[in-house]
Structure formats: C-alpha cells, structure tokens
Amino acid sequence: MRVPTSERILAYVILIVMAILVLVPVLAGSITAFKPQIIWVSSPPTWIFEPTLENFEFVFFTRKGWVYLRNSLIISGGSVAVALILGVPAAYAFARFRFRSSKALMQWLISLRMIPPIVVGLPFYAMFLYLERGLGIGLRDTFPGLIITYQTFLLPLVIWMMRGYFAELPAAMEESAMVEGYTRLGALWRVVLPVVFPGIVATAILNFIFAWNEFFLALILAGNRTSTLPMTAGTYIVRTRVEWGNLFAVNLIIMVPVIVLTIILRRQLVKGLTFGILE
C-alpha cells in the first residue's frame, strides 16, 4: 500500500507519542527502584543520582522477597505444567476427532473466560474450608490448592491455543506413523508432539504470564506459606508513607521476567490473548 508522506509522518508522530506514554511511566517508575530512600519522593523529580541496590536488598532479604518469588515460581510453573498435561491431549482430540459435541464444548470453553474470579474464589474458599474441617484435607494455603484453582483460567486457554497448533498439522502425519505400527498415543508422543513443541512452549509462556500476574485468587486462597509476589506489592503502602523505592523494586521483580518472555513470544501473543478465536 502506498502511503502519502505527510500521512506517514503523522502516523509516526502519533505512534511515537503513544510509545512515550507507555515508556515514561514504566521507566520513570522503575528508576525509583534504584533511588536512595532520601529522594524516593521529590518534586520536581530527581533524574540524576547515584543508583543503589539497597531497595532490592531490603525487598529481597529483609522482607523475604525471595520466598515470594519462589512461591510465585512454584505456583505459576506448577499450574502451567498441570494445565499442559491435562490440556494438550484434550486439544489434540478437539483438533483431530470429529464428534457431535465438539463445537459446543469448544464454545463452552470460551465462555469460561467470562466467569469472574469472585464467582470461583468464594466457593473455592468455602470448599477448602469444608474439606479441611470435614475430611482433614488441607488445601487452603498450599501449592496444590492454588494450582488446582488456577486451572479455571489456564486450562481453557491451553486447550484453545494447542488445538490451533494441532489443527495446523496435516493429519497424514500420525496416520503414516500408525501404519508403521505406532498406536495413536504413541504417534502423538513420538511424532506429533516434537513437531508442535514450539507451540507448546508458546502456550506455556503465555499461561505462565497469566498465572504470574494473578492476584485475586491468591488474595483469597493463599496464606503465609504461599503468598505470591503480586500479593506483597501492596504491603509497601504503609500508613506512615508509601515506600516507593521498595514498591518499585517489587514491581520490577514482577515485571521484568514477563517483559522478557513477551519479547520472546511476541508473535504468538495475539493467538493466546484472543483464545485463538481469530482463526
């Protein structure tokens, strides 16, 4: 498409302004994490200063940030692993087998995205309560409990994304493998999965981001043993003052891994964010 130069310049100007609107808060906020306490708050803002890591040190060691980081990693990693184990075979079936309820089930899976976390979180809490009191099975404030709960938003997404990747592959692939003597499961494991592996990685990363950023369910169902990073960000708003330096240090710890993953994943991002409805 040929675009007049004036139009192109205007487009650049507007887009660059938009990019600045994104970058300024993110960067200006983030550098506060490297400011010494005395200039956390200053008007006009201090731009030139000697960067320090003491905020990170405080957040990471004094406030046990490493524990929350570990919890976040276990919960996000664990729930993505479970979602993949359960979701990949299902996605394969939806992509390969024709059956009557398949379309209705896939639509139902999308509709699960509408369910607000409070609708799930409240009964989950109550259920965990009854299990703990009645059967002595403790799930509240445990990693398995949170990992199960996170399936509400991870599993449908895994199935939708993976179904798309499987559908892209020719069916002849497993068929020839099965002619060679593989069972269907064998063909899936030995032949198909290695091919869709990049898709699995993309799915895993995107789901990891969702689990990593999750706040609401953790707020209700996590406790002392399982607190996640996003839960702790709010603790730096204290009645005496907001500890901006420490707060942005935590924010950076939450943000940076996700931004790195996004850069790796940028091409797959749309598919995941839109549940693959676009195909």
């Binding site: 046990k64 009191r133 404030d141 406790g223 603790t235 204290v238 009645r239």
Partner: protein, 489 residues
C-alpha cells in the same frame, strides 16, 4: 510509688503461685537476667501490618532485644492494612495455624472472638506472668484494646489517643503574631475550639507558599470515621450507640459535626488531595512542613519527633485537641477515643507455639521494653511509662496522653462492627464530596440499624456493651487474676 506497690502485690501473688507453678513443671520463660533461653532456635510467625510509625520503631528497637534475649527468630508477614482482616478471618475460619500471633485492631476483636480463634491469656499469665503486667494499662485502654467482651485475649501493642500537633516556629514568629492580630483582632494562639481552629487554619493557608492550615484523614471509611470521632464527634457529644444498641449517627450533634468536619470551609484549609488522604499522607504533609497544625494520635509521636523522618521535628509542639464550645454552658468540651491494636495469639497453633507466643508478648511488650521504647521515641502506652517522672520531664506530652487514656472511649467491637464502620465512613466521605450531611447521616444510620438487626441484636436479647461495662469486665478480670488497679477501687 504506684510501681513499687504494684511490684509488691505482684510478688505476693507470684509467691502464692510458686508452689503450684513448680508442681506444674513451670513454664520456662525467657529471662534476660538469668539468661535462660528455653525457646532458643525456635521461630515465631507474626501476621502484621506496618501501619502506624510506632510499630516500625518498636520493631526496629525492641525486636533485636527480644531476639537476643530469647534466641527466637521473629518472622513477620506484612500484609496491606485492608488485607489484614480478610486474611485473619479466612485463616481463622479454616482453623489455620500458619501464623502464631496476629495484629488485631480493637474494632475487629468481636468478629474474631466469634470465630473462636483468639486464645485466652489467663492461664499463661497465671502460670508465668513474666513482665506482662496487664494492670499497667488504664482500664479504658485495656478494655478496648486487649479484651473481647469479658475475655482477655491480647497485650496492647500500642494505645492510641487523640493529640494535636502544631508548628511551634510558626506560632512563635513575631511577624505572624502581628499579622494575625491585625487580621483577626486577637492573639495568635494554638486553637482551643473548633472556631479558632478554622480561623487559625485560614490564616496559615497560603497555597502559593505550599502551606496549609491543617489536615485530617478523609481517605478511607475507617480513617475518616476515626478523625470524625476523635477530633470532633466526641467533644460535641456524639456517640456510637445508646444502651439499646440504636445507632446515634442521625442526631443533631452527629450531623452538625459532619457538616463542620467534612464541610467545604474546613476542607478548603487543607492541602489538595485531602479527600483521598489516609494515615500516611497527612503525616507526611506535616513532617514535610506543608501544614501548620495536625490532628493526630499518639502513635505518630515517634515519627514527628524523629529528625530523620520530619524536617520540622525540632519545631513540633503538642497541645490538647481543640474542643467544642458548648453555647449553653460556655465551656469547651473535649473527649477522646482510645484505641489500638493488640497482638493476639492464634488459638489454632500448637501448645508449644502458644507458649513461645506468650513468652514474646510478656517480654517484648512488657514493662521494661515499653520503657526502653518511650525513652528513645517519646511514645508510651503503659501507666508506668506515662507517669514516670523522668520520662515525663523529658516528654511532657506523656501526661496528656495518660489523661486521655483514662477517659478515652473505644470503638464498639461487636462482630458486625467492621461493616457498620464502613457504612458510616462512606457517608462521611460523601459529605466531604459535597453531599447533604443530614440525608446521608440519616441513611447511614438506617443502614447500621439494619446491619445490627441482621445480626439478631434487637431480638435476641443482646445489649450494647458500653464503655462503663467494658471497665467492669476489665476489673472483674483483674480480680480473677488477683490484680489490683486504682481505677477499679
């Protein structure tokens, strides 16, 4: 003198229990003098919120001393203030043992006691009182902060009473005094009544110089209710409930107070953003010299007097909270709220953890440690500290704090109080946003009535636990524990 008396009585009581205690294989306690450290290497998990300054100073100054004396490691889990009550409730209802000690505000004790997760402290005290001295608090403070109705469940971590801080340099400045005299025809003095507060506030409000008259908290329902009651409501005769548990926020006094405190005239004398200010912002404004006066509570003292935290620390003076001038009697009425959090022991933890928790409470929040804190920060909440001649000489405001702690009225602590507090706080915020005070207060009052009714308080024979009743509970508890208290005589 009182100290000596109390110690003698305690010694006498302790000696009575000595044979009993040793027969029970007495509970070992951390003892800084003998160096006994029975819990060495153990951990104590505290669900905490780093809210008011005094807590931060306590942790900074006292925790290392406790850890050194006991060999116990303290592990804090800090939650955002608005997350604490939900966290405790969800954990308690599940019988969770994931923390040993929890931060409980006075208004929450009823809700948590109803959940059965507050451990009663009597048996620990009787077995080994340590340095806990529950009789070292005023009955008002102890009844509000440490008890859930007739049960003793906590050791106060702080007792908050209303205070008024002001900039001594501004009030003493001859130029300011002359200008004030010219403008208002009277001497510039620290305000003693609401009207004077508004007048002096107006005088100092100079947005171009980034200086404002004063500031209060309007930012959250909880905060706004506090300042409404502490600094204005009580002095005007506003109360929470009558003896039948009817809410009293629709009275003429309550509405008048709301119109003054949340009215535009008073709001205009405060820095921009005032409608959203909470604990931190108002304190920061004063500490950065942006306001001339600051209605606060005693937990702010350590920060206000700390030159590293406040640029006006050397110019900070304290005065009584400005009161309401009763037009009929001509006297200035003022009254205060005393409140605060206590550390309470989770009832669902193991017996050993409970013993460690008690050991922590009796020592780290005991008489000796409180004195250390007061010496260094100027803030105290135990009678022995507030009346100590040496400390009073160093920190004159302690005497006013003591008087306030004796007469302070506490929030109700019924299980539904958090919800009622939210209802009235929201209404006040709406008044501050320009709403009609009369309608809003009457509506909120009806909402609270419904909340109380929902909880079955009108038909199941439950009655309001008044401030006086709470004192009776405290005195009965002290008698049960074999303690004497001046205020119970």
């Amino acid at each position: 003198m009182r100290n000596i008396k109390a110690v003698l009585i305690l010694l006498a009581i302790a000696s009575l229990f000595l044979p009993l205690a040793s027969a029970q294989d007495s509970i070992p306690l951390t003892d800084p003098e003998t160096g006994a450290r029975p819990w060495e290497g153990k951990e104590l998990r505290i669900l905490n919120t780093e809210v008011v300054p005094i807590l931060a100073y306590q942790h900074e100054i006292l925790d290392p001393l406790y850890e050194e004396a006991s060999g116990v490691t303290l592990i804090y889990e800090n939650a955002a203030h608005s997350d604490v009550l939900p966290r405790i409730q969800t954990t308690c209802a599940a019988g969770g043992d994931d923390f040993d000690i929890m931060f409980v505000e006075d208004g929450w004790a009823g809700a948590l006691a109803a959940l059965g997760c507050l451990e009663e402290l009597d048996r620990f005290y009787l077995a080994a009182p340590g340095d806990s001295h529950p009789e070292d608090f005023t009955t008002r403070a102890f009844g509000t902060v440490a008890m859930a109705k007739e049960k003793w469940v906590g050791i106060p971590t702080l007792v908050a009473v209303g205070m008024f801080a002001y900039r001594t340099d501004l009030f003493a400045d001859p130029d300011e005094q002359a200008a004030f005299m010219e403008q208002y025809g009277r001497e510039l003095t620290v305000p003693a009544t609401w009207d004077e507060l508004a007048e002096v506030g107006e005088f100092f409000t100079r947005p171009d110089d980034e200086l404002y008259g004063f500031n209060y908290r309007y930012g959250t329902p909880n905060n706004i209710l506090f300042d409404y009651m502490i600094h204005f409501g009580f002095s005007r005769g506003v109360d929470f409930f009558d003896s039948e548990f009817n809410p009293l926020f629709d009275t003429e006094a309550a509405i008048d107070t709301a119109m003054f405190f949340a009215g535009q005239d008073v709001l205009n004398l405060q820095p921009p953003g005032r409608e959203s200010f909470q604990f931190g912002e108002v304190m920061q404004n004063f500490a950065q010299g942006k306001v001339a006066m600051y209605g606060t509570e005693s937990w702010a003292i350590p920060l206000l007097l700390d030159p590293e935290a406040s640029i006006v620390a050397a110019n900070t003076g304290f005065a009584p909270v400005p009161g309401w001038l009763n037009p009929e009697t001509g006297e200035i009425q003022s009254a205060l709220l005393s409140a605060g959090p206590a550390y309470m022991i989770n009832a669902h933890i193991s017996e050993e953890q409970k013993q460690i928790a008690w050991d922590y409470l009796q020592l780290a929040h005991g008489v000796e440690f409180s004195r250390i804190l007061a010496e260094q920060t100027g803030a105290g909440h135990r009678i022995s500290v507030l009346t100590d001649p040496d400390l009073v000489a160093k920190w004159p405001h302690l005497t006013a704090n003591y008087e306030a702690a004796k007469v302070g009225i506490g929030r109700p602590a019924e299980p539904w109080w958090p919800e009622a507090e939210n209802a009235i706080g929201r209404a006040l915020q709406e008044v501050a946003a320009g709403g009609d005070a009369a309608t809003l207060m009457v509506d909120a009052n009806n909402d609270i009535r419904e909340i109380v009714e929902d909880a079955g308080y009108y038909d199941e024979g439950l009655t309001y636990v008044s401030v006086e009743q709470r004192e009776d509970f405290v005195c009965a508890k002290f008698a049960e524990l074999g303690l004497e208290h001046d205020e119970c005589m």
